[in-house]
């Protein structure tokens, strides 16, 4: 009797464990065969991505992965071309009033994937939704200078007051606080995409959680999205410019381990991967190997209240004492390049077509001897004989390597300099930085939009990204004038001057390097556009040439 009962309980437990372990593979078996068949079909791009899509709601999206998907399945007023310049998307006509503060857009006829037309109301609805929900990228509306955006963001005004209005189905009127030379370029950003109010409200809190809870009006539609595994795009036959789109499908696979990425590339499962620095040496002779520049910059912040580091000569000496080229080429080896300015190379061209970096050149470069001379002067001026400071860094592998290198360089080259490394979790590094409770801090900055200003207005006094108590009245003035200057050449000169103040006049920071990436991409893939801001990729113009 007792034994029988025990057996029963035991069987129940076993059954429980089996239920717990119940597992489905979704539609994976069939999709496996499908993708194998497509592999031979031709116009299919297979890519790997490092994470799942956090959200597909364009008003809430906040990272490159979501922006990339949205950029390829939706269409806004403008879209980025191969030079990351805005080209007309849904806009057929754009007029401005005299002082360039009121913009009127005429929209072309186009449809959502449920057959309903895309209207000016869709823009008005989505934009106000961003402001109403205090979404992560609502500051883009302030950057774009849209009327009342700042007041709404600070909760001094209602989201309904935002300067956007649908005049009729095909006419959208946007009012700015003042003329803004960046306005058009910012309109390519996915936060400004339209949404169909009826659909969004129908879906409620399910909106954009799965591929079937969102509408498309872009070059592709999302046909399959399996969380944490990947997603699939198919050509959107109803897209207004469908003739331009040559790709039939794009398969995106979530692969977080770079070594697994290399193996998947070798077995032809994916066509493009980003290499980790360990894998660079092995693959750098491959004919498909390439390094690309990225817009993220790594630099040192000084605490400008520090009795010694507050001295310009000392800061300049620190700048010169670090051999940045060896840092990127010997220590990091991941495609990054030395940087002697705050605006990175390769992304921002002047109205006359010249690169920002080429125009402004290098700042604070010099020999170790020059550095030592400045160091001596600085010490004399501040009355110090030696300096012991610490550097605040995030505890990632790369940052530790960089900090150790800087430590060695400064202690070797500047007599009496002692640097302690304080590695803390990323979030804490940021807290320490915001409170300006450090001596030196290893920081990074990525652009919000395609213009040098995104690296320059962060140094305003009291700005949330200053974080080092730096101030310069001349810089404040120049930023303010550049924000409304509509003569593009004049404006560009102002931007160049702002960087000169920051680095030549004040040596306020130490730019270290610009991120880069080493990639392997099959040569059959043509016209894959890689953008510095907003969406990382455009698939619209990709072709596969076997």
């Amino acid at each position: 009797m007792e034994r029988k009962r025990k057996t029963q309980i035991f069987m129940i437990l076993i059954a429980f464990v089996l239920i717990l372990s119940g597992c489905n593979f979704n539609s994976s078996e069939s999709s496996n065969e499908e993708s194998a068949a497509e592999g031979e079909a031709g116009q299919v791009l297979n890519i790997s991505t490092t994470a799942d899509i956090p959200t597909l709601d364009s008003t809430k999206a906040h990272d490159g992965i979501a922006f990339t998907v949205l950029n390829n399945v939706n269409e806004g007023l403008y879209r980025q071309d191969e030079n990351h310049e805005p080209i007309e998307a849904l806009v057929t006509d754009h007029t401005e009033n005299e002082d360039k503060s009121v913009h009127t857009f005429t929209l072309r006829d186009s449809n959502w994937s449920n057959g309903e037309p895309v209207t000016a109301q869709d823009f008005e609805y989505a934009w106000k939704r961003v402001m109403k929900d205090a979404s992560p990228y609502n500051f883009m509306f302030v950057t774009a200078g849209i009327k009342n955006a700042e007041a709404i963001m600070n909760e001094e005004m209602d989201a309904e007051e935002l300067g956007v209005k649908a005049i009729d189905e095909k006419t959208l009127e946007v009012t700015l606080e003042a003329a803004n030379p960046l306005f058009q370029s910012l309109m390519t950003f996915p936060t400004f995409l339209p949404q169909n109010q009826k659909f969004v409200e129908e879906q409620g809190d399910q909106y954009a959680l799965e591929a079937e809870n969102i509408l498309f009006n872009g070059p592709f539609t999302l046909v399959d999205w399996t969380h944490e595994q990947g997603w699939k795009y198919e050509k959107n036959e109803d897209y207004w410019d469908a003739d331009t789109v040559k790709l039939d499908a794009v398969n995106a696979y979530v692969v977080k381990d770079p070594a697994a990425g290399v193996n998947l590339y070798e077995t032809n499962k994916v066509d493009r991967i980003v290499l980790s620095s360990e894998a660079v040496d092995q693959n750098k002779d491959d004919e498909n190997f390439d390094t690309i520049l990225e817009p993220e910059v790594i630099f040192l912040r000084f605490n400008h209240n520090h009795p010694v580091l507050g001295n310009k000569n000392i800061r300049q000496a620190v700048n010169m004492a670090i051999d940045k080229a060896s840092l990127t080429d010997v220590i990091l080896k991941n495609g990054s390049t030395a940087l002697n300015g705050i605006v990175p190379k390769g992304f921002f061209k002047s109205p006359t077509g010249e690169d920002f970096r080429d125009l402004n050149g290098d700042f604070n470069t010099g020999t170790v001897e020059e550095a030592q001379k400045l160091w001596e002067t600085g010490l004399k001026e501040t009355g110090a004989t030696d300096v012991t400071v610490s550097i605040n860094i995030a505890d990632s592998e790369d940052h530790k390597k960089v900090a150790e290198y800087i430590q060695a360089q400064l202690e070797d080259n500047l007599p009496g300099f002692k640097l302690d490394i304080k590695a803390v979790p990323f979030a804490q590094r940021l807290e320490i930085e915001k409170a300006v409770e450090y001596d030196l801090s290893l920081s990074s900055w990525g652009p919000d939009y395609s213009d040098p200003m995104t690296y320059l207005d962060m140094w305003l006094e009291g700005g949330s990204a200053n974080r080092m108590d730096y101030k310069n009245a001349e810089l404040e003035e120049l930023v303010a004038s550049a924000r409304t200057e509509t003569d593009l050449e004049k404006r560009y000169q102002m931007l160049l001057d702002i960087e000169k103040i920051l680095l030549e006049e004040d040596a306020a920071i130490v730019p270290l390097y610009q991120e880069g990436a080493a990639v392997l991409m099959r040569s059959k893939i043509k016209n894959l556009l890689v953008h510095p801001t907003g969406a990382s990729f455009s698939y619209k113009w990709v072709t596969i040439e076997e």
Binding site: F10, C23, N32, P136, Y207, T226, D257, F426, A427
Partner: protein, 309 residues
């Protein structure tokens, strides 16, 4: 038995409650915010967001609210994945982890048992030395080394099995094999030393003296008794292996839970950290409970009455 079970369940709930409380307050000590792109958030934006998610309330109030929701089975929403419930994130991702883990456990346990029993029975033979060496290797080489080797040789060079990704049964094999190595080695070593100990016991001599056949002695007495400690060890091992392992899941691009847990801690996704911790703890407590019950089947000396708790 019934009284014992009730008592145990009571203690399980108390344990879980303590874990929830400790995690909740410890988590608040982590610096930073759960919101995305903290680099760009201004202080006023941060204040608005904190108010929106109730993070501006005193920690004690937040705690009471959380417990209130938890009792109703509501684990809240993820901060990183806007609009997704923690429950759906766990249920989406536990499947692959559990499947790979269970498969690894079965492979590991079977091979481990065979190796362990054979080497105990052929004590000090070449076979014994061979399997002990294998077990030591399996214990000391981390599973991600096996994973990388398997991926390269079986996946890339031989092309027998998929390199990575989660596409059908064949893609579960490599991660399971890589994970099973540790299980095999642990089980083999354990069972071997336990059997050697049991073989020396008086009751084995008694069994033999009764004239039982050698096979019966081994199966009914030696192996059964040697299994008891193995069950103790296998329970927690099963939990840790089924709830996902960061490295293996990452290497084989398996959409599992282990990777999600690590990530949520790094980005301070409060509700996900809490949800997964509770899930892990509950599973762990439950498995320990199951193991205790299995004891009573394996070892007649253990008989649960109320007072034995």
């Amino acid at each position: 038995m019934k009284r014992y079970l009730l008592q145990r369940i009571g203690f399980m709930l108390i344990t879980l409650f303590i874990i929830v409380t400790a995690t909740f307050f410890l988590m608040q000590l982590l610096p930073g915010t759960p919101f995305t792109n903290p680099e760009k958030l201004t202080d006023s934006q941060l204040a608005i967001l904190n108010a929106k998610y109730g993070l501006d309330q005193p920690v004690a109030i937040q705690y009471i609210q959380y417990i209130g929701n938890l009792v109703q089975g509501d684990l809240g929403y993820s901060f990183q994945h806007e609009g997704r419930t923690v429950t759906s994130m766990i249920s989406d991702r536990i499947g692959p982890s559990a499947f790979i883990g269970l498969q690894a456990l079965v492979i590991g346990a079977i091979i481990g048992l065979v190796l362990g029993i054979v080497s105990a029975l052929k004590h000090n033979s070449l076979l014994d030395y061979g399997s002990v060496t294998l077990a030591v290797l399996g214990m000391s080489i981390p599973s991600f080394v096996f994973a990388a080797l398997l991926q390269y040789y079986v996946g890339v060079k031989l092309e027998w099995l998929p390199v990575a990704l989660w596409e059908g049964y064949s893609s579960t094999l490599l991660p399971s094999i890589a994970l099973s190595v540790t299980v095999t080695a642990t089980v083999a070593r354990f069972i071997r030393s336990e059997m050697l100990e049991v073989i020396g016991q008086d009751y084995i001599i008694t069994a033999r003296a009764k004239g039982l056949k050698e096979n019966q002695v081994i199966v009914k007495h030696v192996i059964r008794n040697a299994l008891i400690p193995v069950v103790t060890m296998l329970g927690p091992l099963a939990v840790s292996i089924m709830t996902g392992t960061l490295v293996i899941e990452k290497i084989f691009a398996v959409p599992g839970l282990g990777e999600q847990f690590t990530l949520s801690i790094l980005v301070l996704d409060y509700s996900v950290i809490m949800g997964i911790t509770i899930f892990y703890s509950a599973l762990f407590i439950f498995v320990v409970f199951v193991v205790d019950i299995i004891y009573s089947f394996l070892d007649p000396r253990i008989n649960y009455k109320g007072e034995s708790a």
